[in-house]
C-alpha cells in the first residue's frame, strides 16, 4: 500500500534530516579535548600498537597459542593483560631508575615463541602461561619510558587493553587457519618471528646503533 510506505518513510526522512542538521550545526571543535585526563590511557594503547617489537612478540604468542587447546586462549589473554599492567608498574618502579635494557629479554622471548610456533610445540598450561606472563611483563616494562609525562596507571591500563586486543585478534585470525595449509602458514609466520628475534638478539649483543 503506497500510503503505508509513506507513513513508514516519513519518520525515517525526519531522522536523517535531523541528524544532518545536528552534524552540520556549527559548534566548537572538540577534537581531543574530550579525552583530557585520560590521555595516558590512549598513550598506552598507541605505544603498544606502534611498537613493532611488542606487536611481533604478541603475534608470535598468539600463533603458538593457536596450536594448543582452545580452552587455554582466555587464560593466555587474561595473563598477558595482567602481566602488561604489572610490567608497567615494575618498569616505572625499578627499570626507570636502573636504566636496565629489556631489549635482549624481548628478543629472547620473540625467539622462544617463534621457535615453539614453528615447531608446533604442544605443551601444557604451565609453560604456555609462564611465557605469556614473561611476554606481558616484558611488554609492560619496556613501554615505561614512554609514560614519562602521563599517569602510569592509565598508561599501563591502555597497554594492557591493547595487548589483550592484539592477542585476541591474533588468536581469532590464527584459529581460522585450521586447514593443513593454514597450519603451514602459521608455522612459516612463527619462523619469521623467530628469525626476527634471533637477529634482535644479535643486535643486542653487538650493541647496534639502531636497536636497544
Amino acid at each position: 500500500m503506497p500510503g503505508c510506505e509513506r507513513v513508514i518513510r516519513a519518520p525515517r526522512l525526519t531522522a536523517i534530516v535531523s541528524s544532518l542538521a545536528v552534524c552540520l550545526n556549527p559548534a566548537t571543535a572538540n577534537a581531543h579535548t574530550a579525552l583530557l585526563g585520560i590521555g595516558g590511557f590512549w598513550s598506552g594503547v598507541a605505544h603498544l600498537l606502534t611498537s613493532p617489537d611488542q606487536l611481533v612478540l604478541l603475534l608470535g604468542l598468539a600463533i603458538w597459542t593457536s596450536f594448543q587447546n582452545m580452552r587455554l586462549d582466555a587464560r593466555v589473554i587474561g595473563t598477558c593483560f595482567l602481566a602488561v599492567l604489572a610490567g608497567a608498574w615494575v618498569g616505572a618502579g625499578m627499570i626507570a631508575r636502573t636504566g636496565l635494557s629489556l631489549a635482549p629479554a624481548g628478543a629472547a622471548l620473540m625467539l622462544a615463541v617463534g621457535l615453539a610456533g614453528a615447531m608446533r610445540l604442544r605443551v601444557g598450561a604451565v609453560p604456555l602461561i609462564s611465557l605469556a606472563l614473561a611476554a606481558g611483563l616484558a611488554c609492560g616494562a619496556a613501554s615505561v619510558d614512554a609514560a614519562a609525562d602521563v599517569s602510569v596507571a592509565l598508561f599501563s591500563l591502555g597497554g594492557s587493553v591493547a595487548a589483550a586486543s592484539v592477542l585476541s585478534y591474533g588468536l581469532l585470525a590464527a584459529r581460522r587457519l585450521e586447514s593443513e595449509w593454514g597450519g603451514v602458514a602459521r608455522r612459516a609466520g612463527a619462523s619469521w618471528i623467530a628469525a626476527i628475534g634471533l637477529m634482535m638478539l644479535a643486535f643486542s649483543v653487538s650493541g647496534h646503533a639502531g636497536w636497544g
Binding site: A188, W192, L198, M199, S206, G210, W211
Partner: protein
C-alpha cells in the same frame, strides 16, 4: 621506521643473486613435494637469521659472496634437473646457502638503519620470494609446466654462472 622497513624489504629484491636463490628454494621445495614444500620455507628464515646474527656480531664468513653466487648455480641446476634428494640432504644444502645469504644481510645492514624494521623487511621479503617460488613450482603439476620450470632452472643456473664469473674474475 618506514625507511628501515623499505630498505630491508628491498634488499633481497634488488640483489638478483638473492632474488633468484630465494625463488629457486620455493620452486625446488614445490618440485620435491611434501614435506619439503613447507619444511624448506619454514627452516630457511631461521637458518638465514642465524647467518645474519653471525654477520651482525662480526663473525667472518670466508668466501661468503662466492657461496651466494654458487647457491644460484646449484639451486638452478637442482630445479632444472628436478633432482629428488632426501629431505635432510635438501635441508643441509639449503641451510648452508641460507647462512651465506643471511650473513650478507647482517654485514650489509647500515649502522644507522632501524635494525628491527630492516630485519622485518628482509625476512618478510624473503618469505614472499619463497611463496612466489612455490606458486611457480605448482606448475609442475601440469606436463607443460614441468618444461617451463626446468627452463627457468636452466636460466637461473646460467645467471649463477655469470655471478660466479663476476666474483672470480672481475
Amino acid at each position: 621506521m618506514g625507511s628501515g622497513l623499505t630498505d630491508g624489504f628491498l634488499h633481497p629484491l634488488t640483489g638478483f643473486d638473492h632474488l633468484l636463490a630465494m625463488v629457486s628454494v620455493g620452486i625446488w621445495g614445490a618440485e620435491l613435494g611434501a614435506p619439503a614444500i613447507w619444511l624448506l620455507p619454514i627452516a630457511f628464515p631461521l637458518i638465514m637469521a642465524f647467518g645474519g646474527a653471525l654477520g651482525v656480531v662480526g663473525v667472518p664468513l670466508p668466501g661468503g659472496e662466492l657461496l651466494i653466487a654458487l647457491s644460484v648455480v646449484v639451486l638452478g641446476v637442482l630445479v632444472a634437473s628436478a633432482r629428488r634428494l632426501p629431505i635432510w640432504t635438501a635441508l643441509t644444502i639449503v641451510g648452508v646457502f641460507a647462512i651465506a645469504h643471511g650473513h650478507a644481510h647482517g654485514v650489509e645492514l647500515p649502522r644507522a638503519a632501524d635494525a628491527l624494521a630492516f630485519t622485518i623487511g628482509f625476512v618478510v621479503a624473503t618469505g614472499l620470494l619463497h611463496l612466489t617460488g612455490i606458486a611457480i613450482g605448482v606448475l609442475a603439476y601440469w606436463p607443460r609446466g614441468i618444461i617451463v620450470i626446468r627452463a627457468c632452472g636452466g636460466v637461473v643456473a646460467v645467471a649463477g654462472c655469470y655471478f660466479v664469473y663476476g666474483y672470480a674474475w672481475v
